[in-house]
Amino acid sequence: MQGVIKVEMNMKSIATRKSVRCLMAALAGICLQSVVTGAESPLPAVQMTPAETVFALEIARPLKILEPLLAPETVQAFSASPIWARIEEGPQFQGLARAVGFLELQMGTDWQTALKKLVGGGVTLAVQSSRETILTIEAQDANSLDQFIQSLQAFIKAATQNNPALQGAEQVVHGVKMTSFGRRAAWALADNRLMIANSVELMERALELRANKGANSFGKSAAYTAARTAAGPDAAAIFFADMTTVRSNPKLQQALAKNLTPLPALLVGHLREAFKKANWLSISLDATADGIRIKAVADAPASEAPRFAVPQANDGVLPNLSVPGQLAGISLYRDLRAFYQAKDELFPERTSGLVFFENMMGIFFSGLHISEGVLAEVDPHIRLVAAVQQYDPEVGIPAIKIPAFAAVMKLRHPQEFGEVVEEAWQKAIGMASFTRGQKGLPGFLIDRSTNKDVKISVAYYRPPKDADLKALEPRFNFRPTLARTGDYVILSSADGLARQVVEAVKKEASAGAKPLPRTHTAAEIDVNALVKAAVSSREPLIQRMMIGQGRSREQASEQLDNLLTWLDCMEKASLEGLEEDGRFVMYLTMKLRAPDAKRIKSPASSGGSK
């Protein structure tokens, strides 16, 4: 879906760009040519680009992407959405619509089929370090290309009639007729393909490589071959970047040299180290029944990365938990003790936040050494959950609703260390209450209960008398909770969520939790739930957009609707980071669907009963 929009929008702005007037001119010349068809199966486009290619985008199976995007249901659903209405009102839309109509007429089919035929064989774009670029478009079959050319014939003829300068110089290069415009534009037709380059030299080299059957080309280089293998045979498109060249960019160097702070270092520190050493980066796209899957591979040995985030043997993260109203979940494999021991390399600059953290840990876990005595007790399998809250009307519903968060950790020695954690938690709550008291703010009450094998401690604010129980202050979103069950310790910002997490953990334990092998990070976002939550908080969001972006109320409302429509196209997304074949690999999977205006407009019922 998104791809189509992008194509259409780009075509709109493309019409005005100077560089593509060259393209139009190039196409002009095409009309006067006949198509050369090759006798043998043609060379892959990547084998017609030089080995020093820095960036390459190879869409080998365009139909895999185009089919679902251009399916009638999708197109219809999109046409009904408000975003389309906006595009239709745009000034350049009429021109675009006419062009598409013309194309349809000439090709004799609807535009979706026409598009599929034209690019169905594949599209490849290759960029050199000198910014020279070559684009190769392969049609599904010779006839399609022919048809397309003929359909443009009349149109272009009229355009270039008054402008002989747009006719280019022709020459035969390695057996292929090439038309060039100065040194800065050239195109050629070979083997069902249209090749366009912004440099005559590059085009000549491409044709030379073709003549030499791709010897010493980019497509035959070790890096590309490895990237292709890593991407897998089903990939519909691959993007390749030569990292050694890319890293010489001073801005990127500066960004990579910057010191990390502890939290980002914990999440992605190990990846950044790998990224600094990678020879190449490949990002591939595949469309499956589950949605779109994007795979990113960096060619750097995972064995040289800091060890705190790499699972041992076939260990890995535990699957994400699932609770009602869940917005997102992250499951991590992080050896906190190893992380802390590596802090000098990972984040050499001491932030006040880190020092404060260590001070607090020293107070809460008095007498225990922070890395040997505390962090070492925490098992590397850590999970975080965020969920929409369900409020008890008798306790009170805040005017502004904030989701609840929970951290789920396993202890190596739950019996002994569990009590230590409880003590630390009580100290923390007490300290928070005391500090608030110093500022004249209300503090917490603590409730502790044991139910079979579950111990729950909840800290909560007393509701003030004469308070409107339907519109409490934001602080009533927070009821810090500590729950212990079995090996697990759960720290949550609300007791409701804590209880649900306890249920989920127990269910998982009885079913037997199996870790995902070699996976260090797994995240899930329920975009559908996120959209629902946003819809129920329309007013604060609109107000924030009014002052944060200077919109009028109507504009902010419309902008919010647009944003929600885009988000509504995604049902959920998940991200996995793992070690595969000695490299770090990331998978991003997005389940898409057609947006539904009804889901966005109708505000969900607020609060909800338990």
């Binding site: 040299a257 910057k258 010191n259 000098d344 050499p348 600059e349 001491r350 932030t351 006040s352 936040g353 880190l354 020092v355 404060f356 260590e358 001070n359 840990m361 020293g362 107070i363 008095s366 007498g367 922070i370």
Partner: protein, 416 residues
Amino acid sequence: MNRREFFKKTLGASTLLAFGCAAPNFLLRSAAAASPSRRRETILVVIQLSGGNDGLNTVIPYENDIYHRRRPTLRITPDKVLKLGNGLGLHPDMQGFQRLYDEGHLAIVQGVGYPHNNRNHDGAMRDWHTAKPKDPTATTGWIGQALDFYTEKNFSTPGGVFVGHIEPPFALQSKKAIVPKVQTAGDWAPVYHGKTADTFAGLLEASSQNESQDEFLDEIRQVTIQTLRASKRIESIAGLSAPDAAVYPQYRLAQTLRTIAQLIRAELGVRIFFAELGGGGIGGFDTHAGQAANHGALLRELSESVTSFAHDLEKDKLLECVLLMTFSEFGRTLTENGRHGTNHGSAAPLFLVGGALKKRLMGVHPRLDDLEEDAPKPHTDFRRVYATALENWLGIESRLVLGESFAPLEGLLGSV
């Protein structure tokens, strides 16, 4: 190529962009000794160390038994200490400072503090900022107050600048002067590019000579002309592609000091710069637990950043016009607590870095057998250090700023 030649080459000899703006007629006391050559203005750079720096592990009395006994795990052993003489040594991570000390560009003022320090982050820091510990209702900071006097005579140039990313500290709170907050030199400039700036400035100059004698509007014109000049100076200095990736380390404080060096070179008329290490508030120096690694890392950042700053300025003979001063809201206790850290104390040493220092060590190390609530007692009031900076360096009557008379430290700086 010296700086004069450099300016001539890059900016041309246009009168519009003449070298430097008018030297502010800054000295309120007439005690300044005028010299025939054009004197550069003196500049004070203040660095706040937030959180309470542990002086005992910074300037270490390594020959004192009590120190070793009371800090079983945190003590720095004599073989690791960077010896300075007099039984004192620097923390091993401060090699840069040792170099500066040997060069005569570093001075240590010992036992600095004030009586009845309440040892509370907010309260103590506020006392250092306002220089009025007995007056909790003070509405200005000491630098802000000094800048208010400065502004009387030089309202078109900001006398002080805060370089950093945290909230500007209360020390800079003023009644009248507007104190810029800057993160990079580019925040100040550029305003207009190339020809537009020249055209504009030229026309403004012409109009102030030819047209109606409206002093009010004229003042505004003058400020605009000066702004255009200043902007162009900064642009040329900041645009100098520095081979100094090697000179300044990657630390944030180092980048801050680099910006300060650029602004000093641009001769904007700024007299006081303020920077901060530790993050403000309950800052990184508040090492209640696990002090060894954290304190070392911070001192390393301080030492290397300041040393690279000093050497950078020295290259252009600017170090003799600059005095850098560090301070922290309190020192720390002698005895280490059970968490390999220390608690809030009182007295601590203070560093001064510059090219015009006449002495290297001021005062004796406070006695370790005569403590107040487990911390060494201060013998030098911090306001004397402020007075030294104000009177002997910047030429401002310190009594007006501090509210009382405090004797400057003798023999530390030559007369201005």
